[in-house]
Structures are given as C-alpha cells and as structure tokens.
Symmetry: C2
Subunit: 264 residues, 2 copies
C-alpha cells in the first residue's frame, strides 16, 4: 500500500483508536472514521485528523477499509456497507477472513497482537501484526502498510491467528486476572494493593530479561514445597475459586518442572 | 539497629545475595557470610566484603543473625548454631517466628516481599519488608535496619506474612507460569516466544499505571464472548491441563465482572 493511500477506519473501540494514531504518523491518510457512537467517533476522527460519519450511504471511497469492530458485528457490518472496489480487512484475532461478507471482492485481516486501552498511546513499532488476504496482490498492499507501522509482520491464516489469540489470553488477560486476585486478596486482608506493585514489576521485568520464563520460575510449587502449599491452601479455604486456581496452577508448575528436569 | 551494627548472613540463596548487596550499601556491616556451599558462600562474602565460614564453631559474634535459608532448614540450623546474645531472624514468608529454636532468647522475622534472582540487582528501596520480633526493643532494632533499606516497612505477625506470601504466589509465581505456558504454546506452534513480549510488557505496564487491575481487564472472558471462548477451548482440546487453566480463569474473570457490575 503506497503512502498517501486513502484509508477508512470503521469502529471506535480501542484498536480503532490506536490505528487512528498510528496510521497518519506512518504517512498514510485516514480519510474517515465511520462509527455508530458519535462521541467516540468524533474523538477518533479528531485524533486521525478527518471527518466522522455514521450514515452508511456516506461511507467514503477508499483504498482500504479497516473494520475494527466487535467480532459479532463483523458479518453484519460487512454486508451492510458498500465498499466499492476497496480492500476490506478486519482486525480480529479469533474471526476468520470469511466472516467478512462474501460479497466483498477483496478481503483480508490485519490483526495487531497487543492490548489496547482508550486514551493510552502505544508504539506500533514493536507490535506483531498478523496479516492475510485472499490474493497475493492485496497481501502485498497490506504488507506495505504493516511494515510501515511495525517491525514485526507475519503472514498468518485464521488458525495461526486464533492460536496467537489464545496465547494472548494466557499472557495478557489471565495475567491481569491474577493481578485482580492479588488486589482483592490484599483488600480483604486490610492491605493496599500497591504493596504488591514492586513484586509485579520485577516479576515481568526479570522474565523479559531472561532466556526463558521457565528458567526464572520461583516459589513453593517449583520447589515442590508441599508443607508451604498446604499452609496456603488452608488460608484459601473460604475462597473456593481462588483455591481451585491455586491448585491447578501449582500442579502445572510442578509438572513443568518435572518435564524440564526429565529433559536434562 | 544502629549503623555499624555487626550482621551475619546465614545462607547463600538469592535472598541472602540480595541482602549482601543491600545491607553494606545502607551503612551496616556484614561481618560474615555463613553458608554450607563454599562456592556460593565465597561469592556472597565477596559481594558483602567479608569472610566466608561454614564451621559452626567459627560463627562470628554479631548483633544480628539473618537466617536466609530454605524453610525446612530453619529449625535445624537455628538449633545447631550458637548465636550468643544476638538477635536472630529468618526471612521466610510462610514460616512462623517459632520455627526458630526456642533456645534462642531474641527472635524475629525479616521478610522481603520480592522475587530475587542470583546475579540480578534489585533496589531494596521499594521492596515491602514485613518484620516481627518477640519483644518491642528488638522490633525497634529491626525497624531501624528495615527503614534504612526500604521505604515500605510493615509490622506483621505470621498470619499476615503468610497471607502476603499467598498474594506473591498469585501475582509472581503464577503469572510467571502463564508466561511459561505462553512460551510452550508458541513453540508448539512454530512461533518464537519473543512475539509475545511487547504484549506482556504492555499488560503489566498498563495495569501498574491504572487505578485497579479490574478496570483494565480485556479479552473474551470479560466480554463474556462465548463463541470465541469455545473456539479457544477447541484449540486446547489436546492440552487438557491448559484447557483446565483456561476454563478456571475464564470463569473467574466472568464472575469478577458480574460482581463488579452488581456493585455499580
């Protein structure tokens, strides 16, 4: 995709917002933000430096339409809108390319493997982008845009993309849930969650600096320190969901250790 | 504890190493590293700028003995050694003060809530220290040392300390296990783990910048996006342990969301 190509962003979620920042910065033109929600749509149009629209008949002509909406809205919206001869991509990790209406001649996927938050800027440069298109010419167009945004571009079919999404659920969504547990546990014991923050920061920093997370695993499970594990389970007696999570992850760590030891 | 007080570090693990760096830097004197393992013991003595010893009869006289050994070695070692009239503390999150031999007149606990790794320097300034002693005078001595090392010092009995240790298991050991899962999942799909690193870094950074981890939870579970969850579970069909972890954490996130919504 050549610089100066006309791009329409459809949707006003966190991924759409991130694209509204990154695409103009990379020298491409966002000509319209098309979104149902006027408040968010106008805000994103302001970021991208273009107009906001929500009437289907006013959808701008463009070289590329990026459909950055919830998974379940993809089929309906891709059927509703008239994209002319433009290339249409969605940004979902778990939806196939075929979730885009088969009436669209040129289809693709543009999936950024990152967690996006409204109002928070992230550099696209390091974000892995998984792209796919129905024909090689369109793939090359998408690759051009992707390479302008990021140093980490991968060709990916729906299965690989979905597998990457599963990985993201484990290392992002589930990790954050453990932070949620940490916060609630601290509060229920009259302690401030901030007490855990140095430990949380160092845990991730240390792993990122290490050759492998397996090499920096610490704690009672990897030591198979059953007396400590038992004491912890007693403290969790009145929190059956936390107890289950503790047991399941502890057994996984013990099994990982055994497998790793067996390999040596 | 006054600056210039004589301190002996017993043990040569990762916590002992961190103390050998931090204590002299705070103006206290480590007069001896007492450790079974000569190689590690000498290395730590080198860091602390003192001698290494492993013969019980050669244990140096000191104001404070910090027993930084594995939980199960605490009772035996505290019985074996003659500490004279020195104050003796252990550094374990899950052991009670009474794990130190009752023959010791002055006992305490000095628990740093952090993950320590051999060869890796961490600033003690932000590390929460949980301290305890059998009498108020010794508590004040420990508090003096703790305050010289860290801005975050808490009086803590065995129960609170153990609860903090449980929190650490969730936000450190279990988080790292999710990274291990991420690495193995990527490898088994022919992808490099490094692809996940920008997502991992941003997930933790974002949470640390947020008012609460609950406010930044993303992913299919918090959206209760059952079709995506089902697709993910299909991909995990041949990995029963990962499937269980996926199910348990997904249900927890859904329940947290419902509880939070109910509260609003």
């Amino acid at each position: 995709m050549k610089k100066g190509s006309r791009i329409v962003i459809i949707g006003s979620g966190n991924v759409a917002e991130a694209l509204c920042r990154a695409i103009p910065a990379a020298g491409y033109e966002v000509v319209q933000v098309f979104a149902r929600n006027p408040e968010r749509g106008k805000a994103l149009a302001g970021i991208a430096g273009c107009d906001w629209e929500n009437r289907p008949e006013k959808l701008s002509e463009a070289d590329l339409y990026i459909l950055s909406v919830s998974d379940k809205a993809i089929p309906e919206l891709s059927t509703l809108l008239d994209f002319g001869n433009g290339l249409v991509v969605h940004t979902s990790g778990s939806c196939g390319l075929e979730e885009l209406s088969s009436g669209i001649a040129r289809r693709g996927v543009f999936y950024p493997l990152q967690t996006f938050t409204a109002g928070r800027e992230v550099s696209f440069r390091g974000i892995p982008l998984f792209i796919e298109a129905t024909n090689e010419e369109d793939y090359k167009l998408l690759e051009g845009l992707a390479s302008a945004l990021s140093d980490s571009v991968y060709r990916s079919d729906s299965i690989l993309r979905r597998k990457m999404h599963v990985a993201a659920v484990f290392v992002c969504n589930f990790v954050n849930d453990l932070y949620v547990i940490g916060e609630q546990w601290m509060q229920s014991n009259g302690m401030d969650f901030s007490v855990l923050k140095p430990l949380i920061a160092e845990t991730t920093r240390k792993m990122l600096d290490s050759p492998s997370p397996l090499s920096v695993q610490t704690g009672p499970a990897v030591r198979e320190d059953r007396p400590t594990i038992e004491k912890h389970l007693q403290l969790l007696e009145n929190y059956p969901d936390l107890k289950t999570i503790y047991e399941v992850l502890t057994e996984h760590i013990i099994n990982m250790k055994k497998t790793a030891d067996g390999k040596l």
